[in-house]
Amino acid sequence: MSVPTAKTAYVEEVVEGLPAGAVTQRESFRDQWAVTVRRDALVEVMEALRDRWGFRYLVDVTAVDFHPRNPRFQVVYHLWCHERNALLRVKTWVEGDPPSVPSMTALWSTANWHERECFDLFGILFDGHPDLRRILLPQSWEGHPLRKDYPTEGPDWDVD
């Protein structure tokens, strides 16, 4: 159905070119490629994507809560290559309590606020982040609202 274009061909080339030991899964949905990377190889893969493959723009950092599965959280990065107009989604499973992944602030400075948001709403720690504190909610907030076990209406909505 979908016609291979120059940009999807480029992303396919990138996905094939990543080190096989680091990538645990490759998938394509509606011409958007996603790779799942082992947590301990994440920094190495991201550095290669930025420097070797030209993904100079980190669009977004977010997370998915698969409660009650284990490992529970998956962090998702969206990368953009301006030269090829190419999008690549990189995912990694997060383990540990509290869950933590290496910070990308050394590679993309925009990761600073994205990771603070992710920490704020999911409670995922980013190792090496220079200033990991809440960015949207008040500093006095308790809990992380986008976690599946956090009540949608908040713990105190019917308190008068």
């Binding site: 949207l136 909610l137 008040p138 609202p145 956090y150 009540p151 949608t152 713990p155 008068d160």
Partner: protein, 178 residues
């Protein structure tokens, strides 16, 4: 005498309370303060088509110190509450609060961890205006209801008598003096 003839048609007698209340309701100054989509309807209410100036209220003050009505126009998030309460506390007495729209009245559609389920948890609301958002006519109706309420305010003759605060008993003033 000729004097009585002169003043007969120029003097009205009233009680102090009625007169003061009439003055208060005739120029209620709202604080310029909008939080969400309701603020757009509030702006419409102030503009020429609906013209809040008919009720002596066209002076939306940018400083809470010059305002005596807070129209809570929109969704109040928990992060915004300290600011809302602070603005209210900066307004001089006497002051009134209108909760405009479903969100300010009860949280509206946002049964969410981030949204206050009604600003009456934090402020003494005088008039609730329902709607999502309420049309300017609805806000004007609420304002007229507030005017009626102000006219009936027995601030001098209420049963327990007028509220008198002895400056000697205000803790903050005692601290200043000490």
């Amino acid at each position: 005498m000729g004097l009585e003839q002169q003043i007969r048609s120029q003097i009205l007698t009233s009680t102090l309370e009625k007169f003061v209340n009439w003055a208060r309701k005739s120029s209620v100054w709202p604080a310029t303060f909008g939080l969400a989509c309701c603020a757009i309807e509030m702006i419409c209410t102030a503009a020429n088509r609906f013209d809040i100036a008919r009720f002596g209220m066209e002076a939306f003050r940018a400083s809470p110190r010059q305002a005596d009505l807070m129209i809570v126009a929109g969704t109040v998030t928990k992060k915004m509450v300290p600011a809302v309460v602070r603005i209210y506390e900066q307004m001089p007495e006497p002051k009134w609060v209108i909760a405009m729209g479903a969100c300010a009245s009860s949280g509206g559609i946002f049964r969410s961890y981030a949204v206050v389920q009604g600003i009456d948890r934090y402020l003494p609301v005088d008039v609730y205006v329902p709607g999502c958002p309420p049309r300017p006519e609805a806000l004007l109706y609420g304002i007229l209801k507030l005017h009626e309420k102000i006219l009936r305010d027995p601030f001098l003759t209420r049963k327990e008598g007028p509220v008198v605060v002895d400056p000697q008993e205000v803790p903050a003033l005692q601290e200043v003096r000490a």
